[in-house]
């Protein structure tokens, strides 16, 4: 940005990256969705909160070790990875189901005209016999 240099910043001091992301709690609707899903599953008694933090903190450590940028994008990416892992491990949403539904949503998006709500239909599933309620 013109007129904004960093001369006042001591080279030894690493800036807190997330400062320039402001006060927003969620940067995108999907981030809010995975947050509320996690809280809802816990409140329904499907896992302990410590089971969640174990998986999530392992993901955070792995990202940090891999040198991923320290941003909210990485944070919620880790959250999503952790939620997929935990729900798969507990057989709430098995891995194969996750893949199948992802492809179904991709097909649903492709047949939906731009600007219209995307909805999942039985026809979006490639395997016959799935009855979507």
């Amino acid at each position: 940005m013109p007129g904004k240099d960093c001369k006042s910043t001591d080279a030894a001091v690493e800036p807190i990256v997330w400062d320039n992301e402001g006060q927003l709690v969620f940067g995108a609707p999907w981030q809010a969705q995975i947050f509320s899903m996690t809280v809802a599953l816990h409140e329904a008694g499907l896992f302990n909160w410590s089971a969640w933090t174990d998986v999530f903190s392992a993901r955070r450590r792995a990202s940090s070790a891999a040198g991923k940028p320290d941003t909210s994008q990485t944070y919620y990416g880790d959250w999503l990875d952790a939620l997929e892992t935990l729900t798969a491990n507990l057989a709430l949403a098995p891995q194969a189901e996750q893949v199948r539904y992802r492809e179904a949503w991709r097909d649903a998006a492709e047949r939906t005209k731009h600007g219209h709500p995307i909805e999942l239909q039985a026809a979006d599933f490639r395997d016959p016999g799935h009855l979507h309620q």
Binding site: V13, E14, W18, G22, I34, V39, L41, S57, D70, L80
Partner: protein, 225 residues
């Protein structure tokens, strides 16, 4: 950015249809499985978001702090059994966690972090700010707390000890900052206005009466939710 690279070979590309990113596909897939199996209810998801975005926020914590400043018995209760004292005001943890109040004094300044992920006292402070979740804060505040506090604009006297508390899924902390000088006779409601969120994490102090009257928006943005 790399999506544009693919455009040259999409000879039958139909620009008119909808597009979901890989991330959106994953989130929608997960949600539809969980809803279809009856593990989550879409209305409950909506209600959770509303609660955390609108109803629970740092104002709850500010009420706890202002009451502690005004009512010595409540302060004593907070020190003895924070979870019960805070629950008596209607703020209880949805994760069944304990809340511990850390009382700042001229001798000891308390700072809160979660080095593992982002555990935070939701019932009293709402959802954590972005910087609390950053790896930079989580790692650095443990190693060089005074430097990190200085970056927040808080320079402590050398004789003040800094204690850094690491939250867990079972134990969440709220800092009770020192009551600002020149607030004798202030009502609980007036005092509440001085309690900014960051002071309850321990990275800033409560506002002084001067800063509260001169700049009404300064610092209060964090409490605006």
């Amino acid at each position: 950015m790399s999506e544009h690279d693919h455009h040259h070979h999409d000879h039958d590309h139909d620009d008119d249809h909808s597009h979901l990113s890989e991330t959106e596909l994953r989130v929608r897939a997960l949600e539809s499985i969980l809803v279809e199996k009856g593990y989550v209810d879409p209305q409950a998801l909506e209600a959770i978001l509303q609660t955390y975005e609108e109803k629970v926020g740092p104002r709850n914590g500010a009420r706890v702090v202002a009451r502690a400043w005004s009512d010595p018995e409540f302060m004593e209760w907070l020190q003895r059994d924070s979870t019960a004292a805070v629950a008596s005001m209607g703020y209880t943890g949805r994760q069944g966690e304990h809340i511990v109040a850390l009382i700042n004094t001229p001798e000891v300044h308390n700072v809160v972090v979660c080095t593992l992920c982002s555990c935070y006292p939701w019932p009293v402070l709402g959802l954590p700010p972005a910087w609390y979740k950053s790896a930079a804060y989580r790692s650095r505040v443990v190693i060089e707390p005074r430097q990190v506090l200085a970056e927040f604009g808080l320079t402590l006297p050398d004789e003040t000890k800094v204690r850094v508390w690491d939250s867990t899924s079972e134990m969440r902390y709220i800092v009770i900052p020192m009551r600002p000088a020149a607030t004798d006779g202030w009502s609980v409601e007036q005092l509440e206005e001085l309690v900014i969120r960051d002071s309850m994490v321990g990275v800033r102090e409560a506002r002084s009466p001067q800063s509260a009257s001169s700049t009404t928006t300064d610092g209060s943005t964090s409490n605006a939710r």
